[in-house]
Structure formats: structure tokens, C-alpha cells
């Protein structure tokens, strides 16, 4: 009993009090800054270093949806055209918004990336129950989404929770590149949701296919059939990235 009391005292209150002000510290690789100006002549080091083809040059563009935030391009570039920052607000409501160019800053991106619709605010602003479906996710995204509800991040305080049944859920959170073998179950889960419903794609695999984009064992037809309301980049997305994106989406 004494040990239990000691343990409880030691544990304290590990919750992050103000999630909106919380920051992730360097060397966390979050929003990348692209420098204005021309790449050195004939150089394609970053293209060769990038594992997912997230970059294009002349003009320099980066697709945050495909980016693993591995930093390989930053290491490879002889001219310092890409620089990682620890800014963690990476979510966007439109796929195109994730394609960034030089001059975009973490603040300018975050200010415009997520639009909050009135209907969403009205229906789900105070309670959003989500069913997560891992469709060939490697357990990286799954662990970080699981962490959103732990004693540190406590996403439940905003009325946002993961629930067991799609019948109890207002939305679906997809992770993984969608293997052929998970495609039917994913579609079943989506059809089991009530309407209106929201769909969140979390992580590079779900958004773009990531490292597995070229695999013949995927069936990504779900994405062609389903409108996606929120994209949360990362490999995996940090819990603060996910929670902040959902809160912005709910207008909170």
C-alpha cells in the first residue's frame, strides 16, 4: 500500500496541459523549409536520396503526403535547399495543400492548411468518435495513434476517442498503404459508419503509398472511391500532429 502511494506521488500529473501550445523539440524532423533560388546545375542528389519520390526539382517542390521526414534529402543536398524544422503542424484538408514550394513557412502553411466546415463544427465539435483501420500499417502509425489517448496526450479530454466498432464511430482513421488482403475489410468498415462521416488518412503510407507505393500487393481503390476529409502526414505522425490536425478540423 505504501509503495502504491509512493508510486502515485511519483507519477504526478504527466498530462500536457495546453496541447495547443505544446511543441516538439529538435532534432524532431517536422515541417521542411525549401529555399528560394536555383538548384546547382545538373544536381539531382536529393532525388536520388529520397526513398519515396516526394521531391521534384526545377522548380523545387516537396509532397508532404509522400515525405517520410527521414532527412535524407537535407543530408544529400550540397546547397542547403531543404532544411528540417521541428514544427509539427502538418495536417491539411486538401491533398494539393501538401505539395509545398519555396517560401512556404511552417506558420504560413498551418494558417491555411485546414479549413473547418460549419457542419463539421456543429455535428462533431464537441464529440468525435473514430474507428481506426490499419490496412497494412507497420504499427508505427498505430502506436502513435494509440499514444494520442495516453496519460500524456489525453485526446479524450476534447471528446475525441477511438472506439471499437465502426457502428459507434463518426469517422474512420486509415493507416497503412492498403494491402489487397485488407481492402475489402476496410471498405466494409467504412460502409458500417453512419452518415455524415469523416475520413482521415494518417501517415505517408495511407496518403501516398509511401515506401510501398510500387508494390503489386496493394489495392488502393478505396481512396479513389472515398472522399478524404483530413490528411495527417508523417512516418509516423507525432501524436501532437494528429491531435492538432483534428482539433483544427473541428474548429477548436
Amino acid at each position: 500500500m505504501l509503495d502504491l502511494l509512493k508510486l502515485r506521488k511519483r507519477h504526478g500529473r504527466p498530462v500536457i496541459k495546453d496541447l495547443r501550445r505544446a511543441e516538439v523539440k529538435a532534432p524532431f524532423r517536422g515541417f521542411p523549409l525549401l529555399r528560394e533560388g536555383a538548384c546547382p546545375d545538373g544536381c539531382d542528389q536529393c532525388l536520388r536520396a529520397c526513398p519515396t519520390g516526394a521531391l521534384s526539382i526545377r522548380p523545387l517542390r516537396l509532397d508532404l503526403g509522400a515525405c517520410l521526414f527521414c532527412g535524407d534529402c537535407e543530408t544529400a543536398c550540397p546547397a542547403g535547399m531543404v532544411r528540417s524544422t521541428p514544427a509539427h503542424r502538418l495536417g491539411a484538408s486538401k491533398r494539393e495543400t501538401l505539395r509545398i514550394g519555396p517560401g512556404e513557412t511552417a506558420a504560413s502553411f498551418a494558417a491555411k492548411a485546414i479549413g473547418s466546415r460549419r457542419e463539421i463544427r456543429r455535428l462533431f465539435g464537441r464529440s468525435l468518435k473514430l474507428r481506426q483501420v490499419s490496412a497494412a500499417g507497420c504499427n508505427g502509425c498505430e502506436m502513435e495513434l494509440g499514444a494520442c489517448g495516453n496519460v500524456n496526450f489525453d485526446m479524450g479530454r476534447f471528446g475525441v476517442d477511438f472506439v471499437a466498432s465502426p457502428r459507434h464511430a463518426d469517422g474512420l482513421v486509415l493507416t497503412g498503404p492498403i494491402s489487397r488482403n485488407m481492402s475489402p475489410a476496410l471498405k466494409d468498415a467504412y460502409r458500417s459508419l453512419g452518415t455524415p462521416r469523416v475520413v482521415v488518412a494518417a501517415g505517408a503510407c495511407a496518403i501516398h503509398g509511401g515506401l510501398f507505393a510500387e508494390s503489386v500487393d496493394l489495392d488502393r481503390s478505396f481512396l479513389a472511391e472515398t472522399p478524404i476529409d483530413l490528411f495527417v502526414p508523417g512516418c509516423p505522425p507525432h501524436p501532437l500532429t494528429f491531435i492538432r490536425a483534428v482539433l483544427d478540423f473541428l474548429g477548436r
Partner: protein
């Protein structure tokens, strides 16, 4: 003539030195080796002009030796099954059957591993589940989508009343074609390293380390000791973090919320320390082929030390409370027993094996990288129940904390990166690592030009899923969640 080639972990062997036996000789050699105490590590096929070459890698853990033998199965497409005499071959033979259509004649439960799942794919014939007959037998089917934020798989229980008589675990839902991608993108090493990090996202250091080790061995280099020790520190932090998370989950599953909260908060401290070292809570981006990408600075060392001190005391107290609680022990003890003899027969690895009395730990049995420079004491328990699999985690947390503390103080000076030379042509290298779940094995085979022609991956889960099926027999079905969490196996690592 020897029936196998002997070598060590990370020692490349010319493919021509691996004896090629007839299928009957091969089978005899496997059975004799198993009787002599050798353990199966890998068994994989490779398509060649003359047929399919099957290669088996066995381990003699006491003598730190690996053995490889091969056979070629031609157009007859059948060979005598080894499973009836060596049950640990069970899934490996099914995998070969699925990939190459070779029938192991006499296999007791021959069906594909990742295909033919519940009629999902019209091109694949659905395979039946094991069926028990009897008036009072009923089946419970769970999955592929489970209740929590976890990966998918299907569990089919055959029950009588509340008791589980048999559990068949059907995986394959996560199959992404990882091994195939290793070959298709073999000329893009940066891609392969990131792919290795994503074989199982909870074992980033384990799998990326195994891949880097194999590539370095083929390129005939050994990274500087400083880099190897930084990998050791990252691997042990990975182990501590996951073990803490597993104890949190186990406590949560028996409704012991103090344990769930406390262990969960301690885990956060550990994975945030990994983030402070390399920018990712799971160690992504830390390992490079030839070394590591991030150094441990003096400030980093001080931060790690202070977090470890805090976590050590917190975990000690939390374990004293958890394992001192009668209500917790009433659920953990005698639940989900895997007896040592069963564990040996099916080839369990990692903490699950050590909880069933098998002293297996790649760090000391087949030392590699930084683990070659200091001893890791193997610790075992014998009861093989949920309690043992939980308790061994708490013991290993304390051990890993001590290891990191010692090694971080002794970090030698040295370079972080050594680029490897061109890979040896026509070689096989086996890279074993002790991930937090147990033995990770990668095998790389190069062609005459030194390019990858086969890349085989084995996550420890490939051995241990069958252990879970054994554990739940004769248990109430309501104990399934704690049995499952006490193993915490990988779906994607198995499905590849």
C-alpha cells in the same frame, strides 16, 4: 562429406560452399541436426533455372555457430516434409509451398500462409479452417479488424463452453510484398534502409540494424565501435520502451489502471529520449549502412542518464506494486502456459522463450555489432505463463537500463560512418539480431555481380504466433487478451 557449411552470424559464405543435398538427404540432415539440438533459424526458397533451391539455416546456440544446407527441388515440385519430425518447420514449409508451389509431402496442415484468406481474392482458392466436431463445440471468429488501434489478423477459436480447445490464427492481411520490394529496388540502397525500418514499425532498430549488418558484412566492413555502441544504446532503448508499453497494456487488460497509466508515462519518457537522440520516437533515421547518422553528445549522454535514473526507480516501484497485487496475480499466474518442451519443439524465441525456460538470446548466443564487446547475461523463468512473460519484461527493463548506462559512459571515440565496399558476389550472409521480441534474421544472397538475388526476412513473430495458439489451449476464452498481449506479436513482421 559434411551435410552443412558452418559459419557465424554476419560471416559471408560463398554460396558454392553450401552443400547441395538430395531432398531425402536434406531431410535426414535436418532431422539429425534437430535431434542434436540445432535450432531452425531460416528456411527459404529461391527460383533458379534447374528448379527451386531450398536453403535451411540452423543454429547451435551453445557454440555460436550457424549451419547452412541446401537442396534443389525440380519439376516434380514435391519433397518429403520435415515438419512431422521437426515441428518448428511447420510455417516455413507452408511459406515455401505458398511461394513456389512445392508440396512438402506428409505435412500435417498444409495451407498457404498469406493467400486464400476467407475468399478475399477471387483469384485465390479459399482455404478451410481447422474444424472440431461435437455437439457442444462452437466457434468464435475475431477479426481481421480488432477492437483496438492495432493491426489486423483473424483468430478462429474452437470452444467448448468457455474453454478454448484450439485456436487457428490466420494472418496475411498485412502482406505488402516487402521481400519483393527488396529485390525490385536493390539498386537504391537508401530506399532499402528505409524499407527495413518499416518491416515492423515497433522494431525499427532491430530490423534496420539487421539489414545494415548484412549489407556491411557483404561489403567487408565493420563500422567504428562508437557507431556500434550507439546502435546498442538505441536497441536497448527500443527494448525498454516496448517492454514498458507491454506492461502498461497487460495491466490495462486486467483493469489495473494504475499500472496502465504509470508504465505508459514511463514509456513516453523513454521514446522521447530516443527522439532527442535521433529525431524519431522509434529510432527512424538513426541507423545508416556503415554506422549511424547521429552522435551522442555530452549533453545527450547526461539527458539519457537522468531519464534512465528516473525510469529505473519508477519501473522498480511500478513492478513491485503490479506483481505484488493479488488481483493482478490471480489473472496472470497459470494463464496461457507454454511448457518448456512445447516451446523447444515449436522453436520459440525471445522473451517468450526465456519465460518458458529456454535460454536463447542472440546478444550472447551469436554476438554481433556492439554486443561482441561485452557480455549479456541470459535470464530465464520456467513457468511459461502470462506471469512469466510479463515478469521477464520487468527483469529485462532493469537489465537494459544497466546496459545503456554502462555503455553510454564507455562510448569510445571514433567515426560515425564507414562506407562499405562493393558487396561480395555469390555469397550468403545471415544477420541475426535480438530485437525486443526475439531473434530477427535477415539473409541476403548475392548473384555473380554482387547484386541481391534473394532477401529473406524473419521476424521473431514467425516462430512465436504458434506459441500463442498453444498458450490459449484449455484456457477460458476471456483470458485470450492477456495471453495475446503477453506475446505482443507483429502482424506486419509476419505478413511482410
Amino acid at each position: 562429406m559434411a551435410t552443412s557449411a558452418a559459419f557465424k552470424n554476419l560471416q559471408p559464405v560463398p554460396v558454392t560452399e553450401i552443400p547441395r543435398l538430395s531432398p531425402a538427404e536434406f531431410r535426414r540432415a535436418m532431422v539429425e541436426d534437430a535431434e542434436a539440438g540445432r535450432r531452425i533459424v531460416l528456411f527459404f526458397g529461391d527460383r533458379e533455372p534447374a528448379g527451386v533451391t531450398l536453403t535451411a539455416v540452423l543454429a547451435d546456440d551453445d557454440r555460436s555457430r550457424l549451419f547452412a544446407a541446401s537442396t534443389c527441388v525440380g519439376s516434380e515440385a514435391r519433397y518429403p516434409a520435415i515438419t512431422p519430425d521437426v515441428p518448428a518447420f511447420h510455417l516455413f514449409e507452408r511459406e515455401v509451398y505458398e511461394e513456389f508451389g512445392l508440396e512438402p509431402v506428409g505435412h500435417p496442415w498444409l495451407k498457404p500462409v498469406r493467400r486464400g484468406i476467407a475468399g478475399i481474392n477471387p483469384a485465390e482458392a479459399p482455404t478451410a479452417f481447422f474444424r472440431m466436431e461435437g455437439d457442444e463445440v462452437h466457434e468464435v471468429g475475431v477479426g481481421p479488424i480488432h477492437a483496438g488501434v492495432i493491426e489486423p489478423g483473424h483468430f478462429r477459436f474452437s470452444c467448448q463452453g468457455e474453454d478454448v480447445h484450439h485456436l487457428e490464427i490466420q494472418l496475411g492481411f498485412q502482406h505488402r510484398g516487402v521481400e519483393n520490394l527488396f529485390l525490385r529496388r536493390r539498386d537504391h540502397p537508401a530506399f532499402l534502409l528505409r524499407l527495413a525500418e518499416s518491416i515492423a514499425g515497433d522494431s525499427v532498430i532491430g530490423h534496420a540494424g539487421a539489414f545494415a549488418g548484412a549489407t556491411e558484412a557483404l561489403g567487408r566492413i565493420l563500422p567504428a565501435r562508437r557507431a556500434l555502441m550507439i546502435r546498442v544504446i538505441a536497441q536497448e532503448l527500443e527494448r525498454i520502451g516496448i517492454h514498458l508499453g507491454d506492461l502498461a497494456a497487460l495491466a490495462g487488460d486486467v483493469a489495473y489502471l494504475t499500472g496502465q497509466s504509470v508504465y505508459g508515462a514511463l514509456r513516453t519518457k523513454i521514446i522521447n529520449t530516443t527522439l532527442a537522440l535521433c529525431g524519431s520516437r522509434f529510432g527512424r533515421g538513426l541507423i545508416a549502412v556503415g554506422g549511424v547518422r547521429f552522435d551522442v553528445t555530452p549533453e545527450g549522454r547526461a539527458a539519457v542518464r537522468s531519464v534512465l535514473e528516473e525510469v529505473e526507480e519508477g519501473a522498480r516501484l511500478a513492478s513491485a506494486v503490479l506483481f505484488g497485487s493479488g488481483s493482478v496475480l490471480a489473472r496472470f499466474e497459470k494463464a496461457g502456459i507454454v511448457y518448456p518442451e512445447t516451446a523447444r519443439q515449436i522453436g520459440l524465441v525471445g522473451p517468450a522463450a526465456r519465460a518458458s525456460g529456454l535460454a536463447r538470446d542472440v546478444r550472447s548466443d551469436h554476438p554481433y555489432g556492439g554486443y561482441a564487446y561485452f557480455p549479456v547475461h541470459k535470464m530465464t523463468l520456467t513457468s511459461g505463463d502470462v506471469f512469466a512473460r510479463a515478469y521477464i519484461r520487468s527483469v529485462e527493463i532493469a537489465q537494459s537500463i544497466r546496459l545503456v548506462r554502462e555503455q553510454i559512459d564507455l562510448l569510445p571515440e571514433g567515426d560515425l560512418l564507414h562506407p562499405p565496399g562493393p558487396p561480395a558476389a555469390g555469397h550468403l550472409v545471415v544477420s541475426l539480431a535480438e530485437g525486443w521480441r526475439g531473434e530477427i534474421a535477415h539473409a541476403a544472397v548475392t548473384d555473380d555481380e554482387g547484386r541481391l538475388k534473394r532477401y529473406k526476412i524473419k521476424d521473431p513473430s514467425f516462430h512465436n504466433w504458434f506459441g500463442l495458439a498453444m498458450a490459449v489451449r484449455k484456457n477460458g476464452i476471456s483470458d485470450f487478451p492477456i495471453c495475446n498481449k503477453s506475446f505482443n506479436l507483429s502482424y506486419c513482421g509476419f505478413d511482410l
